[in-house]
């Protein structure tokens, strides 16, 4: 382990499992366990996977000025962000968005959770707790009314993801029926620290208070679970034991990366980062007016976003087999004649999908929707490219490391039949 490398409370468990460990966001984290990244990826599509995500940072914000501060700094319009009717964010709901700088570059992506009119929680990426706290404090300046606290390494977080997640979680919750009632996508219940962020409590059978959020970053059905750090080890083992009948597996960051790429979710600082946000699959984080021509609020980065001029486009792609071109100094995207047209941001293999007559089919694709009875996907290369200009879905481009060449297709979407938004009742 390198010097100055952070670890999560589960680090020794990962090492004892002989996980392949690597540095990520300043933390030494498991890439995969002896199970293998492919089996881990497939478990989240067909059963359940458990990810240690305690490297992510949690902030709490309290005070009458917090909502206005978030309206200025966060890309989502908190007054118009919930559901098709664009209702205001309320207690028990959360939203995904980005923090932009004045040049509309992404500082980080985040989920903002509302606990009360003056109480919020924000989850940002590993090692970003400090920078986002500093950014918010600097924007608040001397104006009173917003207390911002960085709880990096003081919250235990794990993600239970996959279609069996609710059945597994149900076995360790004190009152699962109450917890799962009306628990729609991007809602949450409970608190990991009732003094800090009071909420109607949710308890495990053993009495541990837990925050259950119906979110995740795999594109599949599941939960993010937050507890005080002293409870993380117990919760981890309770879930592994409760998930045994459903073949739950501990999953590393490699599976998380391939799952999120197939679900067209960006990795912060890789697919979105310190370059002008725009022309990408994630414009839904911006507060567009109904006709899409203006923003519904003023916020940091808005003038830069509205500035005229062509900017590079970030587009999803999928290949035709599992082969990848690793991202390096030499990797680039060319057109079919070999002319450079852009760079590769993410290139990984979604192991749950393959092509049948050109169309992408997933292990989760229902039988009646063209999944053959014996479907053993080899996996498809997929990820994101950043091109000089927009190209329509279906266009073929070439990824190369200067030596190997790989033809891939620009896509609107990658892995079909994702389960993240399935109704709770259908998953119990």
């Amino acid at each position: 382990m390198g010097q100055n490398m952070n670890i999560t409370p589960l680090h020794s468990w990962h090492v004892n499992q002989n996980a392949n460990m690597a540095a990520f966001g300043g933390y030494e984290m498991p890439l995969w366990y002896p199970t293998g990244a492919k089996a881990e990826h497939l478990a989240v599509i067909t059963g359940a996977g458990l990810f240690d995500t305690s490297h992510m940072a949690v902030l709490s914000l309290h005070g009458p000025a917090v909502r206005a501060l978030l309206q200025r700094c966060f890309s989502k319009d908190l007054e118009r962000c919930i559901g098709p009717q664009k209702l205001p964010l309320i207690a028990g709901r959360c939203v995904y968005g980005v923090f932009l700088d004045t040049a509309a570059g992404v500082i980080d992506d985040a989920i903002v959770y509302q606990y009360g009119d003056e109480a919020y929680m924000i989850v940002v990426n590993a090692s970003m707790g400090g920078p986002i706290t500093a950014h918010l404090r600097s924007e608040q300046g001397d104006t009173p009314g917003a207390m911002i606290s960085d709880h990096t390494d003081q919250v235990g977080k794990m993600d239970l993801q996959g279609p069996a997640s609710a059945r597994i979680l149900k076995r360790i919750l004190k009152d699962p029926a109450a917890v799962f009632e009306k628990m729609i996508y991007f809602s949450f219940k409970g608190s990991f620290n009732a003094d800090l962020l009071p909420a109607e409590p949710v308890y495990l059978l053993d009495g541990t208070p837990v925050m259950v959020s119906r979110t995740g970053y795999t594109g599949e059905f599941g939960f993010e679970l937050f507890v005080a750090p002293r409870h993380i080890d117990t919760l981890w083992h309770q879930l592994l034991a409760a998930g045994e009948p459903d073949n739950i597996v501990a999953c590393g960051l490699a599976a998380r990366d391939s799952l999120r790429a197939g679900a067209v979710l960006p990795l912060s600082h890789q697919d979105i980062g310190p370059w002008r946000f725009g022309c990408n699959p994630w414009l839904f984080v911006l507060p567009h007016s109904e006709n899409g021509t203006t923003f519904t609020k003023d916020f940091i980065g808005a003038p830069a976003l509205e500035a005229k001029g062509d900017i590079p486009c970030t587009l999803p792609f999928a290949g035709y087999d599992p082969r990848k071109i690793p991202v390096s100094d030499k990797s680039l995207v060319t057109d079919q004649d070999g002319k450079p047209i852009g760079s590769i941001l993410t290139c990984t293999t979604d192991m749950a999908i393959d092509r049948i007559d050109g169309a992408i089919v997933s292990l989760a694709t229902p039988r009646e929707n063209d999944r053959p009875e014996s479907f053993t996907p080899r996996g498809l290369c997929c990820g994101f490219v950043r091109l000089e200009r927009m190209l329509p879905a279906g266009t073929e481009v070439v990824l190369t490391d200067g030596k190997r060449k790989l033809k891939v297709e620009i896509r609107d979407d990658i892995r079909p039949d994702r389960t993240a938004r399935k109704p709770m009742q259908s998953m119990l």
């Binding site: 392949n20 599992p322 690793p326 293999t349 490391d401």
Partner: protein, 131 residues
């Protein structure tokens, strides 16, 4: 990851610095990757192999192994002409993870069988891994 002592390193084959192995099987030589290599790479999802008849000099790149996180070049331990490729790996690349010695990748007719003597023994290869 496996502890070095837990690696399966058979004695009847020769090893390279790049973690390939070569095994003399009569007139031909089978070539694959070591237990250390498959363990480090993780799940192998694709094997790019040369064509039968391709000629290589010792140290040439003869294919690539794609794992979930990386693409690794394969370097040939001995000079020769490819006489067979393991087509079972086209549909089941994971065979290399399951048994990297049963799952040979290519078979060559060596140009100079004496090159085998330059490969590491299992003990020397283990010393190399220990650094």
């Amino acid at each position: 990851m496996k502890e070095l002592e837990a690696l399966n390193l058979p004695d009847n084959i020769g090893y390279t610095d790049d973690h390939e192995w070569a095994q003399i099987t009569g007139e031909t030589v089978r070539i694959g990757v070591s237990d250390y290599a498959q363990d480090q790479l993780g799940d192998i999802v694709f094997v790019e192999m040369p064509a039968v008849g391709d000629q290589f000099s010792k140290g040439d790149e003869f294919g690539t192994l794609e794992s979930v996180k990386a693409v690794s070049e394969l370097y040939i331990p001995m000079s020769g002409e490819v006489v067979a490729v393991n087509t079972a790996l086209e549909d089941s690349p994971e065979l290399i993870n399951e048994d990297p010695y049963a799952a040979w990748i290519i078979e060559i007719k060596p140009a100079d069988a004496g090159e085998y003597q330059q490969l590491h023994t299992a003990a020397a290869y283990l010393d190399l891994l220990k650094g």
